[in-house]
């Protein structure tokens, strides 16, 4: 880890929701500042996502918590669902058992989650701690076409869609997004700020692409079927799209 002391706020993905972990000794001013700093690049891009706040122990008063909720909701559009305080923070948020299982990429199986309640290790931490082990990544499969109005989030890794993403549909992942079909809607890879994420589609004709805090839309006139699979990635502060020839 980069530094031993806890950061004031930590943002982690957990299935299709977010966890905000607030350090125990932080004041409300510090917390607000830290949230603004963490969210600076993300802006409103995660709007509509549910969030649980983990306050480790009850250092923040109810009023102060309301301020945090207000900030998260009004500035970033996040829906705070639960406050996990010192007493029940070890318990898993309600309803997690019903989530679709995620596939452990390395073992090729559906693992039982060992760390209850705690979000999976962040990508970078995985690399730092286990750099002598094969990289473990979580992948979520969507095995149908996403139609207008449907939103799929996976905030713990990568997403593979076996179908199309139609106009008006949205896919959001903290890692890469691969569409084995036509991507016509909106895709947001690296949703927590990882600009090394990529978006790959067999047919890339999106309404809009987002990687981390970068946003792009296809040049006007780019329509109809593409002949080849394409990849979108960030290069020199902008999203570029090119024919996919392997990473």
């Amino acid at each position: 880890m980069k530094n031993v002391s806890h950061p004031i706020v930590e943002l982690k993905g957990f299935r299709d929701s977010l966890h905000l972990i607030i350090a125990p000794d932080a004041s409300i001013e510090q917390v607000e500042l830290a949230i603004k700093k963490r969210m600076a690049n993300l802006g409103y891009s995660l709007a509509g996502t549910t969030m649980n706040i983990d306050i480790r122990n009850e250092t923040l008063s109810d009023d102060e918590l309301s301020r945090v909720k207000m900030l998260l909701h009004e500035t970033y559009g996040l829906e705070v669902e639960r406050i996990l305080d010192g007493l029940d923070r070890e318990s898993e948020p309600a309803g997690n058992e019903t989530h679709e299982p995620v596939v452990d990429w390395a073992n090729g199986s559906t693992p039982k989650r060992k760390i209850r309640g705690a979000p999976a290790l962040h990508r970078e931490e995985n690399i730092v701690n286990n750099n002598f082990l094969p990289k473990i990544e979580e992948v979520r499969f969507i095995r149908h076409t996403l139609r207008s109005g449907q939103v799929e989030r996976f905030l713990e890794g990568n997403m593979i869609i076996l179908g199309d993403v139609n106009p008006g549909a949205e896919v959001i992942a903290t890692g890469d997004i691969i569409v084995l079909g036509v991507l016509r809607g909106v895709a947001h890879a690296g949703a927590l700020g990882d600009t090394s994420s990529v978006i790959i589609a067999l047919n890339l004709v999106p309404t809009q692409l987002r990687i981390g805090h970068y946003i792009t839309r296809p040049p006007s006139g780019r329509q109809g079927a593409r002949q080849k699979a394409e990849i979108a990635r960030v290069s020199e502060q902008a999203i570029i799209v090119e024919e996919y020839r392997g990473l």
Binding site: S148, G149, Q150, D164, P167
Partner: protein, 265 residues
């Protein structure tokens, strides 16, 4: 036991009511026993399109409230044997009916009739949910416009969530000339996006305006190209293998579109 078919689109003004009236008429002309239900509570107009406005006495609301029997509330179309209308109440609104109540009506009707066509209101709210509640099959109506296709896609997603997986697509008001000049969405592109079976293409036809204003569905008019297209759809609903002629400027070619055609409900 008959089938309940909901005719829906998401977007307004794409021809749901016109399609319901014409398909109902076409099926009845094929000696099927048909009821069409106007589910657009508060904005009823299926009765007008079918020319039955002056004969409506009871509505589905009266049936639900127990003011009259279901059979008594049906308006019989005198021009065609076995074509009936269950009108919508104009003084209520969509939230006055619950999906279960609508479902009950549909279940009761399909015991007696071969086809129950439900004309859905526009939108994705309760009015739509009421209309789809008792449906076995859905007919999605879209025009070759981006906005209309987008809304149809949304509706298809919602219907799938309601476990109505059996769907057929009508592409309405297609202008072959405009498709050819690249000014209108190609049926191929629409089917590519919506990925459901096509059940028919209705060409743009001025006759429709005249017929809806007169309350005489275009199906009765053998000169109307839209009327002919509706009769072909009715045959496909009945399971007949009728080709979908490709509409092109200057006439039709006997070709089929290259995709699967919805057949037999």
């Amino acid at each position: 036991m008959g089938k309940v078919i909901v005719v829906t689109s998401g977007k307004g003004g794409v021809g749901k009511s016109t399609s319901t009236a014409n398909l109902g008429t076409a099926l009845a002309l094929m000696n099927q026993r048909v009821v069409v239900i106007d589910a657009d509570i508060g904005l009823r107009n299926l009765d007008v399109i079918m020319g039955l406005e002056s004969r409506v006495v009871y509505t589905s609301m009266d049936v639900i409230e127990g003011a009259c029997d279901l059979e008594k509330a049906l308006v019989k179309d005198r021009r065609t044997k076995d074509l009936h209308l269950l009108a919508a109440s104009q003084k209520n609104n969509k939230n006055d009916i619950q999906p279960e109540q609508m479902k009950k009506i549909c279940l009761e009707l399909k015991v007696e009739y071969d086809y129950v066509l439900v004309d859905s209101p526009a939108g994705i709210e309760q009015g739509f949910r009421n209309a789809a509640a008792g449906a076995d099959v859905a007919i999605i109506v879209t025009t070759p416009e981006v906005a209309s296709v987008r809304d149809a896609d949304r509706i298809i997603g919602l219907l799938m969530n309601m476990n109505i997986g059996d769907m057929g697509l009508i592409i309405n008001r297609l202008s072959p000339k405009m498709v050819e000049s690249g000014d209108m969405m190609d049926p191929d592109d629409i089917i590519d996006i919506l990925s459901i079976d096509l059940i028919g293409v209705i060409p743009e036809d001025k006759e429709i305006v005249v017929s809806t204003n007169r309350g005489l569905p275009a199906t009765y008019n053998h000169q109307s190209s839209a009327g002919q297209a509706y009769r072909r759809i009715a045959k496909r609903i009945e399971g007949e293998d009728v080709q979908i002629p490709e509409f092109r400027a200057g006439g039709w070619f006997g070709n089929l579109f290259k995709f699967k055609v919805f057949k037999g409900i």
